[in-house]
């Protein structure tokens, strides 16, 4: 059939549709020209209403900031600034953050980035976030830097602030140790080991559980011992005598002495799922190592809960390895401002107010966390006796630990490295009792391969 002149053929139509769609796609994908962060000429006037959009993976993580704005005078002083929280599940919101940064489309004003997901943003030459170093300025001295900024810092620049001081400590069930005549708190890991032998014999109870699908315990002990998980260049810093000693201690307590067990966790939740705490309720484990969000308030329903009141205590991490430090940081979520944020100045105003003033206490009131802002650590809210620990004033302990918090480095390859460390070292050694030197020897080329990708 011949084509009539002037008729649009199907082929032409598809071609033109494709062109139109391509043009639309290119237009949609083009990064909008973002106002330069901090450019005063682009800042809205005081009269103009500004909605600061913030993304996070849990409601309370944004809710307490809103409440701190309301309760500590920010909203009154800045009625034109409102907070628009957007919450989505953990993986989804972090994927959205990466996609927004990569495309430059739909970028919020504030992102709450969990420390484990921050390193992805440090890949490549360009970093998605505004450097907050100068904005924080001298107030760095007011922060517990190991918890507040180190996970979100790279090459000397700070790209986020975490409001929690994640000072790790050891929670131990004092009542069971009292029953078998063991003196607590434990000065050293050797003391804990000796207590474990007695405890196993007397009550068939594990003194501690080590995570064999997660390198968290290894990391905490390494930091406390003065070691580095990652060095300033982002390389793994645990392949040394210190790392081997710590791992050997953990391996020995499980495989040689039988006084520790593998942490009862699930494949998809490898730190502290509900079945982890169930083991404590069932009198299977007597100690747990972790940050305040983990073992700070074991009386909570989502931890051990009712039934073991007055039986637990908190203490510093026992000495015995390397520098014998009393604590380490573990976990946390930042507030960070993307470079392409529409309202970076207002976002910073909110962050400054909620993280660098007493307004940070709002999160302590709501969730019972200890703030990384040092000037408030003496506040009565943080220094009330905790009944579950038989009236122990854990705020005093946390303040003491916070002031001795070791500094750490982040790595752009952190997620890949953690996976490799678990696959090649932690799981084989703690689960199967594999040879530590051989495990570390296998790990080294894998880390190099990951870096080369």
């Amino acid at each position: 059939m011949t084509q009539r002149k002037g008729n649009l053929s199907r082929r032409d139509f598809v071609r033109y549709s494709g062109l139109a769609a391509g043009a639309a796609a290119v237009a949609a994908c083009a990064a909008p020209v973002a106002p330069a962060a901090g450019d005063a000429s682009d800042a809205p006037s005081e009269d103009m209403e500004v909605i600061v959009e913030a993304w996070a993976h849990w409601e309370q993580g944004l809710g307490w900031i809103q409440n701190s704005m309301d309760n500590y005078g920010f909203s009154e002083e800045n009625p034109h600034i409102t907070w628009n929280p957007v919450v989505a599940p953990f993986a989804e919101i972090h994927d959205k953050m990466l996609a927004a940064c990569a495309s430059g489309v739909g970028v919020p004003d504030v992102m709450r980035v969990e420390q484990g997901r921050m390193s992805a943003f440090f890949k490549g030459e360009e970093i998605c976030f505004i450097d907050l170093t100068d904005r924080i300025g001298d107030r760095m001295d007011d922060l517990v830097l190991g918890s507040a900024v180190d996970y979100w810092s790279w090459k000397g620049s700070v790209y986020g602030i975490g409001n929690e001081v994640n000072a790790c400590s050891l929670a131990y069930r004092k009542s069971v140790f009292d029953e078998i005549g063991i003196e607590t708190p434990f000065e050293t890991w050797d003391d804990l080991m000796e207590a474990g032998v007695v405890l196993k014999e007397a009550k068939d109870m594990a003194v501690i559980s080590w995570h064999d699908l997660h390198d968290g315990d290894f990391q905490i002990m390494l930091f406390a011992a003065g070691g580095e998980m990652f060095d300033e260049n982002g390389d793994f810093g645990g392949i040394n005598d210190l790392g081997k000693q710590i791992l050997e201690f953990q391996r020995m307590t499980i495989h040689d002495l039988g006084i520790a067990i593998s942490a009862p966790v699930t494949g998809d939740s490898t730190w502290s799922p509900p079945i982890y705490w169930e083991a404590f309720r069932q009198d299977q484990i007597a100690c747990t190592l972790g940050a305040p969000w983990h073992n700070g308030k074991l009386g909570r329903e989502d931890k051990i809960g009712p039934g073991q009141e007055n039986e637990w205590r908190l203490q510093r991490i026992p000495a015995g390895f390397g520098a014998n430090g009393p604590t380490a940081t573990h976990g946390g979520t930042s507030v960070s401002i993307p470079k392409q944020a529409q309202h970076p100045e207002e976002a910073w105003q909110i962050i400054e107010h909620s993280h660098l003033t007493e307004a940070v206490l709002q999160d302590s009131i709501e969730r019972g966390i200890w703030p990384s802002y040092i000037p408030v650590l003496d506040d009565p809210i943080l220094n009330e006796p905790y009944d579950y620990y038989e009236g122990q004033v854990i705020g005093e302990l946390y303040k003491d630990l916070a002031l001795q918090m070791p500094r750490i480095f982040q790595s752009p390859w952190a997620p890949e490295f953690h996976t490799a460390i678990n696959n090649f070292v932690i799981t084989p050694v703690l689960q199967d009792g594999a040879d530590i030197d051989a495990a570390f020897a296998e790990l080294e080329p894998e880390l190099e391969r990951i870096k080369s990708l």
């Binding site: 002037g6 008729n7 649009l8 139509f13 598809v14 549709s17 494709g18 139109a20 769609a21 391509g22 639309a24 796609a25 949609a28 993986a91 972090h94 994927d95 990466l98 940064c101 990569a102 997901r117 992805a120 943003f121 440090f122 890949k123 490549g124 030459e125 360009e126 970093i127 998605c128 064999d212 699908l213 593998s262 009862p264 966790v265 699930t266 494949g267 998809d268 490898t270 079945i275 169930e278 083991a279 390859w413 997620p415 890949e416 996976t419 678990n422 696959n423 799981t427 084989p428 689960q431 894998e446 391969r449 080369s452 990708l453």
Partner: protein, 321 residues
């Protein structure tokens, strides 16, 4: 005063009100053009959300793009690195084991179930409908719920399976279904069997119902027993359905993501990591978009090759089809 006629550019005279120019062109072509507007939304959305990402990711697979930096052309390096990547090899092995699980366990089981439902063992039509509906239920259950359910069943200390094992065989019989590197793949396969055997069985039931009864009756009159009828008549006539189920099951197995991701997170020691999960981790956790694209295209290549092999094995290209 208006003229009584208008002259077109070609010199032709038209009555007043007759469209000219664009309006004339539109008047003449509108019936050809308008239908395209109706179908255009699909093509535009397809181009933006499917065709463009496919083209873009192919482009990225030859580039190094980490984070939000500008892609740098590196030729085939991503593909070469994949060949030396132990995690990719492990994920490929795991996924192949899942596919073999589908092929050797799930499909035969589905076929047996279909034959049973279609046989005189289930004589009532209502019972047949009940079974067919029951087979479909696991597929209607979301992957999240199914994985959560199996994580409870598989739990080491308080899971139902281990509690029965302990009751009958003692404490030592407990199995780390999702913690032990040696058994975790089996745990995933069991979950997949639970989820997908039913739907495959339904395909087989539909195929079995299309086989003319006369053939089976004639064979029975000639003295063929049940087994001979099954092997000599039913299975050969079911070849197109078996091909369809095999190809879709293998394709599905190579694209599995949700179940291992939700049940084990790919661990322990990557022993349950699927290729798609590795792709996802590489793209979103590690933000290495170029490498993730190369993994994606390698997966596509594998699936196409397997599909062609399947089609050849089942004689789909034969002249007599």
């Amino acid at each position: 005063m208006a003229s009584s006629s208008e002259i077109s550019p070609t010199g032709r005279r038209y009555a007043p009100g007759t469209p000219t120019g664009f309006r004339l062109w539109w008047h003449r072509h509108r019936l050809t053009i308008i239908p395209y507007f109706y179908i255009a939304p699909f093509f535009i959305l397809f181009a933006i959300f499917l065709a463009w990402p496919v083209v873009r990711s192919f482009y990225l697979s030859f580039h190094k793009q980490q984070g939000i930096s500008v892609p740098a052309f590196i030729g085939l390096d991503n593909y070469v690195n994949l060949l030396a990547d132990p995690r990719f090899k492990q994920s490929l092995l795991n996924t192949t084991v899942y596919a073999l699980g589908s092929l050797l366990l799930q499909i035969p089981l589905a076929f047996i179930l279909a034959v049973v439902v279609n046989s005189r063992l289930v004589p009532w039509a209502n019972a047949k409908s009940f079974y067919r509906l029951s087979y479909f239920v696991p597929l209607l259950t979301s992957a999240v719920i199914a994985s959560l359910m199996f994580s409870i069943l598989y739990d080491y200390n308080s899971g139902l399976i281990n509690s029965y094992l302990m009751r009958f065989f003692g404490e030592e019989a407990k199995v780390g279904w999702v913690r032990n590197a040696r058994v975790v793949k089996l745990s995933i396969i069991l979950l997949l069997i639970w989820r997908f055997t039913g739907i495959n069985s339904l395909y087989f039931v539909a195929g079995l119902q299309n086989i003319p009864k006369e053939l089976e009756e004639a064979a029975a009159i000639d003295g063929a027993n049940w087994w001979q009828v099954l092997v000599g008549i039913t299975i050969p006539l079911m070849r197109p359905v078996i091909l369809f189920v095999t190809v879709t099951a293998i394709n599905g197995s190579y694209q599995i993501f949700a179940e291992p991701y939700l049940l084990t997170g790919g661990g322990p020691r990557d022993q349950s990591l699927s290729i798609v999960q590795y792709l996802y981790n590489t793209g979103f956790s590690y933000f290495n978009l170029g490498y993730a694209s190369a993994i994606g295209y390698t997966l596509v290549t594998i699936i196409v090759i397997l599909a062609i092999l399947n089609l050849r094995f089942f004689g789909a290209f034969r002249e007599d089809q």
